[in-house]
């Protein structure tokens, strides 16, 4: 017997209203009778009619039936029964099915075996597979639309309550919303909500940073709602940000590659404690193209990553960028390691760099981290603030959360080349070069 999980039930819900109604029905007080065995779940649910509705779920293939007049499929009663079964499996077990259940099951078994006996099973299954895929896609679009609906409400609520609330909000405030987005198959949006949690109080201008993050999410919702009217690259950006994945194999086959020597200039690692998923983000820099690229690898728990990349490693290879208005994420078509290394060429001054950033932001307003190599910069201290200064005495702030002292010590007051991320507010240095020497910060 395969038991039903809450996630499965949620994924089956035709809309959010059904799911909400079903969650209320997932309480034994609404049920006249309840039962289950290895093959099925069943129950009689008190409804608006005189007689309770007879609800049943076939566990072998997730077929369901209900005597209620609802046009929704599955109806809230079926979903309610599934949620109830998933939440308290012990209440529902090893019962003998009443006649109305066993008859229904018998009928279904006949139908299925008849179907299996039909000719041309290959075409049939491929057709049904295609149909399944289309149904799944449609279901996902529905889930996503509903998920974004709740996110929109949540954002508006937060504005109504005030940003001050964010500072005192319990962790569950962010986590619950993030979990809801995961359930709605929106991992990208879920990540953005999770990241918001660390913003309040982290810097003097945190309200601005938080507001901008919220505004970006809001823009994402708006963009999704008029997805069809967007130009193709932005459409991809929106879908990728929300959490649709791009098939890497297809991408490699279908897109042009960029040949260059690529230096792994920085690497970060995140681990999700509950799922055990480890995400390794590699920042690459092209020697001739002078372009950045982001290479993301995944692995579970102690499993090794598919490619062994580390900061300071140089690779010669063909890189394929994921589509988007300002392509950054990429994947290797092929590569080999090189013995030699190089110091990447970057922007000669801050005005040139900020100009490039402005262009990139115009193309992709969701660009949160702009990777940049800056040449000939010094690290200066003004009271307790750290500044990065170019050759023309122009200064930008360095993130206080970075390794400022290490960078300052490395420089000794002399100019050097650095790689880091610019988020529009401050620069986060990750790597520096002391002459030819690569120094991870």
């Amino acid at each position: 017997m395969s038991s039903i999980t809450a996630e499965e039930a949620k994924a089956l819900a035709p809309d959010l209203a059904s799911l909400k109604a079903a969650q209320e029905l997932a309480d034994i007080c609404h049920w006249v009778s309840l039962g289950a065995n290895e093959a099925a779940l069943w129950g009689e649910c008190k409804g608006s009619a005189q007689k309770p509705y007879k609800v049943q779920v076939d566990l072998s293939n997730r077929g369901f039936a209900c005597t209620c007049p609802s046009r929704k499929s599955p109806c809230k009663h079926v979903l309610g029964l599934m949620l109830l079964a998933s939440a308290s499996p012990t209440i529902l077990k090893d019962a003998t099915p009443p006649a109305w259940v066993s008859e229904w099951l018998e009928k279904r078994t006949d139908q299925t075996s008849d179907h299996a006996g039909q000719a041309e099973p290959d075409t049939a299954s491929s057709q049904s597979r295609q149909k399944d895929a289309a149904r799944r896609a449609a279901r996902r679009e529905k889930l996503v639309a509903a998920g974004l609906e709740t996110l929109d409400l949540w954002l508006k609520d937060l504005i109504r309550q005030g940003l001050a609330f964010a500072q005192s909000a319990p962790a569950s405030f962010w986590e619950q919303q993030s979990a809801r987005l995961v359930d709605a198959q929106l991992p990208g949006a879920a990540r953005m909500v999770r990241e918001m949690q660390d913003i309040p109080g982290a810097s003097p201008n945190w309200t601005e940073i938080l507001l901008l993050k919220m505004a970006r999410l809001h823009l994402l919702i708006q963009a999704y709602r008029r997805l069809e009217s967007l130009p193709e690259p932005s459409r991809t950006d929106v879908r990728t940000l929300l959490g649709w994945t791009i098939n890497r194999k297809e991408l490699i086959l279908s897109s042009p590659a960029l040949s260059d020597d690529w230096l792994v200039v920085a690497q970060t690692l995140e681990e999700d404690e509950t799922s055990g998923l480890r995400t390794q983000i590699n920042w690459l820099w092209g020697k001739t193209s002078r372009k950045p690229a982001q290479l993301i690898l995944f692995a579970f728990r102690t499993r090794p990553f598919e490619d062994h990349l580390f900061p300071g490693l140089t690779l010669r290879g063909d890189l394929v960028y994921f589509p988007g208005a300002y392509p950054l994420r990429a994947v290797f078509k092929s590569y080999r390691g090189l013995e030699s290394t190089f110091v990447p060429a970057g922007f000669p001054n801050f005005l040139a760099f900020l100009d490039a950033y402005s262009t990139a932001l115009g193309l992709n307003p969701w660009l949160e981290h702009f990777p940049v190599v800056l040449e000939h910069v010094t690290i200066e201290r003004l009271e307790t603030n750290w500044l990065l200064c170019d050759g023309e005495n122009q200064a930008i702030p360095i993130s206080p959360r970075s390794h400022c002292w290490e960078l300052f010590s490395l420089s000794g007051g002399h100019p050097l080349t650095v790689f880091g991320l610019w988020d529009g507010f401050s620069f986060f240095p990750m790597t520096a070069w002391e002459n030819e020497r690569f120094v991870r910060l």
Binding site: I159, R160, T207, A215, R216, F350, L354, L382, A395, S409
Partner: protein, 478 residues
Amino acid sequence: MTTLKSLAQSAMLGSTDESLLASAIRVGIAELGGYVPVAFTGERAICGTESRPRMPERAGRLFKRMLEEEMDELLPEFLQGAAERGYIVPPETLPALLSPGRNAWHSLILPVIGERGSWLAAHNPAWDYARKREPLEAWENGTRAERVFALERIRTTDPARGREWVQTCWETDSPEDRAAFLATFAIGLSMDDEPFLEACLDDKRKEVRQAARRLLLRLETSRFVKRMWTRVKLIVRVRSSFLNKGTLEVTLPEELDSAAKRDGVGELALPKKMGEKASRLAQLIALTPPVLWSREFNRSPDRWIAMALTCEWKEPLLLGWQMAAIGTADADWAESLILLWMTQEEAQSFLDMNALSALVPLLRAEKIEGWVTSIEPGVSDTRSTRAIALLEMYHRPWTANLSRWVVKSVQQQSTVFHQRLLQALPGFARWMPPELSDEFSQGWEDEPGSGWNKKIGSFLQILKFRNEIKSSLEEQSS
């Protein structure tokens, strides 16, 4: 004008403006895209050139790993090795190295930070100790810890100047400060310090007198030692005959004269309670360099201890010698007293067991090697059990033979102690010669893997890492 900041302010306590987020994205993206850097007008700090070479690159990488993984127990060895070769550390490691958690190691850290380290320290008050400033300036303006540190530094190069510093402000410094400053005289101590220390015996404060006495005890030709020796020679005498090897006769005076009191007899705290006379005897012995007993009477410490054991005053005699051996870092006496502890069950009651760990580091590595390697298989008497216990307390470099004996004993389970030694193995890895790491990787019954004992694994890991450190520092500096 609407800015992201003004929008954030209006949203701070809640807003019903439905279009606030839409405005925020418009304004926010425009602001970010139009970011303008500010002109820097502050002062610039530039570090001067280094006079000493950076350590080899591999050593620098290992060092960074040690800091990141907080392998602090291996750091002193590394820092010392680097300092001996005149190397300085990579500059990006300085903030972690200078961090306040490593207070006890200032003297190890300073030689390896170079110009960059002092330059950096001048920017952060928490690293003030590493600032390049004249020791005199630190001495005149610093806190007590800084003054002690400055004094320690000057005592290593110019002890007389250090003494002059202390004398100059002797009258105005607090007694606690004076005692702390005197303690630094252990560095570069010589007879030049003797007149000042002798004068300190008349100080009003007990802690100052005690600090002076501890130093004078280590100056064999000091007036203090001469007086003590004259005193004890009258009290402890050897009566020898042809029939026995000699017995000790102790005659204690009823009253202490004022000269003895000035020298500290009666003021020295003992770790054990004793009768008044016994206590006086123990103090007299403890305030006399033990080397005089063996030298002046041409009798080994072992002989003296044997005679003491048959004497009714054995307890104060042995306790006094133990204290004196620790006070003067006398290896011969330490070895004989440890041997007594190893061979005599009742020695526990004569010696100060709490101070045993102060006696053990005085032992010569060869001595421990001799004691331990002569343990026979299957024997677990007091002597061998205690010899093994010494290993666990001996936090100094071991000889190759001793290391080999211990590893073989675990590998071949050749002594009854192999389990105990196995448990202690990771701790031993710090003291064995690191170049033996390859040799010690061989000869284990299990292969590394599931059945592999964790203790052996971490033992080899530490030893191999130390070997890496050593060889990396021996590479040519780039």
